[in-house]
């Protein structure tokens, strides 16, 4: 397993797609900061905390999560998908590795890649924010939000890997992952959200709770709470965000499904 991981990480760190994403994606967040700064320029700040809120730095550090689904699909397509496309996966099976070890080596490397990019995209704009507006000393909120972003990132990675394994090739797998996530996100959000916003009196407390749970189970829906908490909470008239632990259930289910499918598949 160590040898497989070593090979996978070597390939990862030699990959242009990884480095390109790592250095370009934080600029999305930095752009949002600059834009926010332009919007709020001239307003009189009362305290460091106000300046921080004015810059909305807390949420802009997570703006990259808006595109997370698409980014992860592309990254996993370039990484895991390349193993299928190049036939390197065959080499590893012929070399005598079990399917279980192979699967987990890909999953671990893929999740690490996604998490590294996520953390880098949070850290770089956070530093820019602190340099521009000062730091109010509160590690709790940004720390909690950072930790909350990790399970959905990992779950989306596992889901994309499952789609590539299910399809058996890079392009089909990426398309399935992309479309499924898009359909689930928009269908769920369109169906339930419209009810919550337009007919709130018809929605019971239990249904609201159920919505929060399902929203947390769908990683793309959950991350919206991270980069647009204020807007979403206001629309839904809620003060609490869903718990990120539910995303861990999604991660576990996707991991198990991916392993079962990988062990079952006939490879070419």
């Amino acid at each position: 397993m160590i040898k497989l991981l070593r090979a996978n990480f070597f390939k990862l760190f030699c990959s242009w797609s990884f480095w390109l994403t790592l250095f370009i994606l934080p600029f999305i967040n930095i752009f949002v900061i600059i834009n926010g700064d332009r919007t709020y320029k001239g307003l009189e700040p009362r305290s460091g905390l106000d300046r921080w809120n004015l810059g909305m730095c807390g949420e802009t550090c997570f703006s990259h999560l808006m595109f997370l689904t698409y980014i992860i699909v592309l990254l996993m397509g370039m990484f895991i998908g390349d193993e299928y496309a190049s036939g390197a996966l065959r080499n590893k099976i012929i070399a005598g590795y079990s399917r279980t070890k192979l699967y987990f080596s890909y999953l671990i490397a893929g999740v690490c890649e996604s998490l590294i990019i996520d953390l880098f995209c949070i850290a770089v704009p956070f530093i820019v924010c602190c340099a521009k507006y000062g730091f109010d000393g509160d590690w709790g909120t940004p720390g909690l939000m950072t930790v909350s972003s990790l399970p959905p990132v990992a779950a989306l990675t596992a889901f994309t890997i499952l789609c590539i394994i299910f399809a058996g090739d890079r392009t089909s797998g990426m398309v399935i992952a992309f479309l499924t996530d898009l359909v689930m996100y928009y269908f769920f959000d369109w169906f339930f959200l419209s009810k919550l916003i337009n007919e709130p009196e018809k929605v019971s407390a239990a249904q609201k709770k159920l919505y929060l749970i399902i929203d947390a189970l769908l990683p793309s829906s959950f991350v919206e709470w991270l980069y647009a908490f204020g807007m979403k909470a206001h629309d839904l008239n809620m003060t609490h965000a869903p718990k990120c632990g539910w995303c861990c259930i999604t991660l576990a289910v996707m991991t198990a499904a991916g392993l079962m499918q990988f062990r079952k598949n006939d490879l070419k």
């Binding site: 497989l4 190049s86 036939g87 065959r90 080499n91 012929i94």
Partner: protein, 304 residues
């Protein structure tokens, strides 16, 4: 005789299609085993099963004496290198980087064997050129080099000369012969290009419809192949009539040549042809081609 690979009633079914049907074969140690069959006969399917890419529906095989159902088969797979259908190489990496990746995958301690491997497959001067820019022959050779990482005892090559130009075919052939003779590597090579296989193989397995039709050594094949006298004349009709009268087995090739499969007296034949004015232009003896032998085994027309 020691066998590195033995299959026992190996079967593989895909929904309504049976790719392998109780296939049993034996690959002797140190041989170049030519696996001969038409497109769709089951050659690649068998190779995929042996390499662990797919699971058999029923039956079993033994590799280096270990059964496929035994967990220890994973250790034995490490003694095998394979190129299945297309070379498994990273197109975005150079030849050296591809070998480095394979070394890492196998957990080999250092990369000192890489320059020698590149020299063996004649890719040592590719420098920073990525595999994407290699010719087909170069990609094939790189695929073989990747398969040779870790010094395998057996090499499995699935149609390695498909799509290659004559020079590329010669290079692959020479490489395989070198590996077998100098490193004592057993080679299982599948192909439907029979003429090329006849220059390589020491043993043959003929497959058709997912079954082994016949297994034999090159010596046995030579004995079994019929010798023929290839004759060229000016009047094929006259020759045909004379041969019919002589009662010998023959086959007309075109409007000037024929193959005669029986012993006959050449003087008598030429004398018999003289009244019709038919001249004998050339006579030479030749063995039945592998293609003809294969066709005679599985049925169909030969185009010798």
């Amino acid at each position: 005789m020691e066998y590195v690979l033995k299959t026992n009633s190996l079967t593989k079914k895909y929904r309504n299609f049976t790719a392998l049907d109780n296939l049993s074969m034996n690959v002797p140690k140190g041989s170049i085993y030519g696996f001969v069959g038409r497109n769709g006969a089951g050659k690649t399917t068998l190779i995929r099963l042996i390499c662990g890419l797919q699971r058999p529906t029923s039956g079993s095989f033994e590799m280096f004496g270990v059964r496929n159902t035994d967990r220890k088969i994973l250790e034995q797979r490490r003694r095998v290198g394979a190129v299945v259908e297309t070379p498994s190489i990273y197109l975005g990496m150079t030849a050296e980087e591809n070998l480095k990746m394979q070394y890492m995958t196998l957990g080999l301690p250092d990369y000192s064997g890489i320059p020698e491997l590149l020299k063996l497959v004649r890719l040592s001067d590719t420098g920073r050129k990525t595999a994407r820019n290699f010719s087909l022959g170069m990609k094939q050779r790189l695929g073989i080099a990747v398969a040779l990482c870790g010094n395998p005892d057996m090499l499995i090559l699935d149609e390695p000369i498909n799509g290659l130009d004559p020079q590329g075919i010669i290079e692959i052939r020479e490489l395989i012969l070198k590996l077998n003779r100098e490193r004592d590597i057993t080679v299982l090579i599948s192909s439907h290009i029979l003429d090329e296989l006849s220059k390589l193989a020491t043993h043959y397995g003929f497959i058709d419809g997912g079954r082994i039709v016949k297994e034999m050594s090159a010596e046995e094949l030579e004995k079994a192949s019929r010798k023929a006298v290839h004759i060229e004349v000016t009047d094929i009709k006259a020759l045909s009539m004379v041969l019919e009268d002589m009662g010998v087995e023959y086959k007309l090739i075109d409007d000037r040549t024929a193959d005669i499969y029986a012993k006959f007296n050449i003087t008598q034949l030429t004398k018999a042809l003289m009244p019709s004015g038919c001249e004998v232009l050339s006579i030479n003896e030749r063995d039945e081609s592998l293609e003809s032998f294969f066709i005679s085994l599985v049925g169909g027309e030969s185009h010798d």
